[in-house]
Amino acid sequence: MNSARWQQINHLFHQTLERDAGSRESFLRERTTGDPELYQEVRTLLDSHARTEGFLDEPAWGIAADLVLGDAAESLTGKRVGSYRVLEEIGRGGMGVVYAAEDERLRRTVALKALTPEYTRDPLRRERLTREARAAAALSHPAIATIFALEEIDGELYMVSELVRGKTLRDELAAGPLPPSRLVPVLVAIATALEAAHEQGIVHRDLKPENIIRREDGQIKVLDFGLAQTPSRPNVQASTRLTERGVALGTPGYMAPEQLSGGDVDARADIFAFGVLAWELATGEHPFGTDMAAVLARMTELIEGRATGLSRALPFPGLDRIVRRCMRARPQERYPTGGALLADLRELERSGDVAPATVPRDAIWWWQFHQTAMAILNGVMPAAVWAVRRWITLPQGSFLFLATLMLATVSVTLRLNLLFTSRVHPSMLVEHRARLFPAIVFADALLAATLLVTAARIAGDHDEVAALILTVAVVILASLTLIEPATTRAAGLLPGGPKAG
């Protein structure tokens, strides 16, 4: 058969199909007179169509899922692997099937993870895994499932670790949000695990409810530091950093924007995941919505910097503030490590439920006063330079005036905008201020410089006025370097500083 013939068959097939069922046969006979082969082709296709309506309608991935799961399907239960006797399958993790097994040399029960072939066949991934296991095995902490060994047995790789039996937080979430009395201790336990890992330079990279187990005795254990890797140090060659760039590891929905976009990831990515997790444990819902499409849409917004905050507040204001800081889109606005996070959580635990998530009144008052004062001072400056511009040679005087006007306008506008935010959207202030502050510094510094030049130009002829302008320039600079940081810190508006409360 060739294409032309196929076109002919197509045409006749559809023509016949358009007729009502009773007249199809006669129509087809009539059209294929003298061409029994054509009749046969169209007839069998019509039969096939009638019999197999819906054939292939379900996409291949839906029906062939087990193919992708691949070799993991073959169970090791009851078999002997090296010196391990496999007892039972206890789960399927991100990297392979996990079994409970008896280590016959040391006579203890361990978790044996048979790693999928993707990890073992590719030398690059294999080497990365070996490094990760080595790093993670150095971690010894009650809230971290200890890695004992990475063993190669008959060409396959097995990760041997502490066996933790209990329920994952995902299982617990199935029954709804955790009550506050249980929530905070769980979060503190996870944060202690992160603190310990981050101190060793190890990042989990895939923190999520599935990876955290409450052991039968109540101890919280974070599993699978297996995906973690030691962050690159400046003296390490790029070639030894084995994470392929641009390929994000981890689970979308818990991944920080920088992780999802395949950028460099450090402890602050774990902090982000912790925020998502904490929100989920507190509310029973994922902060970005219930279905994958919604989550992905929100993540895209986060990457593009379009959405910053969360739409609603957690019922516990103290926790709300901590979670919001964890989930900031920009890593530098989050807690730097698990240790900093832990400090705030411990305080939350101590104080029961802590103060509302607003900045203290007195401290913010000074900050607001400072913003107002600077806005007024800067706002007056263009008028001052306008008044003295005729004492300066003409083009230069006009230029200095225009520069002052422009810079003062920028500075005043931004400061008034911050004042407005502090009144109307106090919860967004920290983030907003961090975003605008560099521009304010820039405008104010240039304004001070312009004023200094102006003062220099008129000095000699008009010393008093020059001294006045000089003073203002110095005030602006001093304010920028000394007063502004002080009032900002006191108001708890620095992302890295002590929190307000």
């Binding site: 096939s48 291949a60 599935e210 992905l296």
Partner: protein
């Protein structure tokens, strides 16, 4: 067109890698019994790869075409590997929902389907591509129409005869 083909060839490995990894992690995350949503997978892969190098993809349709082809490759490769493992044993058959096929036949031989699709491509490349987009890429009629720049009605017409033809080919194959 020649240019287009070339760019598809160079992009394929990237999409293939990403989809394979995503699919595996999806399946492990999903609760048993749940099926994989190819569209969610494609969406996610697209999102990640777009962030990586936005200029590389002409548009979503371009990406979908490559993704569908990658998915086909992944599945066929896996099915072949599975068969090789069973050395001479019966071919791996993918079970379809009961009742989907009235004739009592309830499985698809993916490798036979792949070969039949190759034959269809010699008769009508567009129809073969359409089947790839819908069956392996999981695209809806509307999405397929958009990706192929034809009307949804034309997609339906092509789909009707192509699936009837493929079903007939597979039946002939299993009888032989």
């Amino acid at each position: 067109m020649e240019n287009d083909r070339q760019s598809v060839d160079s992009l394929l490995p990237i999409v293939y890698q990403e989809l394979r990894r995503l699919a595996a992690s999806y399946l492990r995350r999903e609760r048993p019994g749940q099926t994989l949503q190819p569209t969610a997978l494609v969406h996610e892969a697209y999102l990640r790869l777009m962030k990586d190098k936005p200029g590389r993809w002409q548009n979503r349709a371009h990406f979908c075409a490559i993704a569908a082809h990658s998915m086909r490759q992944i599945l066929i490769e896996r099915a072949r590997a599975r068969n090789a493992q069973k050395r001479g044993g019966p071919r791996h058959r993918v079970t379809l929902d009961e009742g989907l096929l009235a004739g009592g036949e309830r499985s698809i031989d993916l490798i036979a389907l792949d070969q039949a699709l190759e034959r269809l491509a010699t008769l009508d490349p567009d129809q073969a591509r359409l089947v790839e987009l819908r069956f392996f890429g999981g695209l809806t009629v509307e999405e397929t129409a958009e990706a192929m720049e034809i009307s949804p009605a034309t997609v339906k017409r092509h789909w009707t005869i192509a699936s009837a033809w493929l079903a007939r080919e597979l039946e002939g194959n299993s009888q032989a």
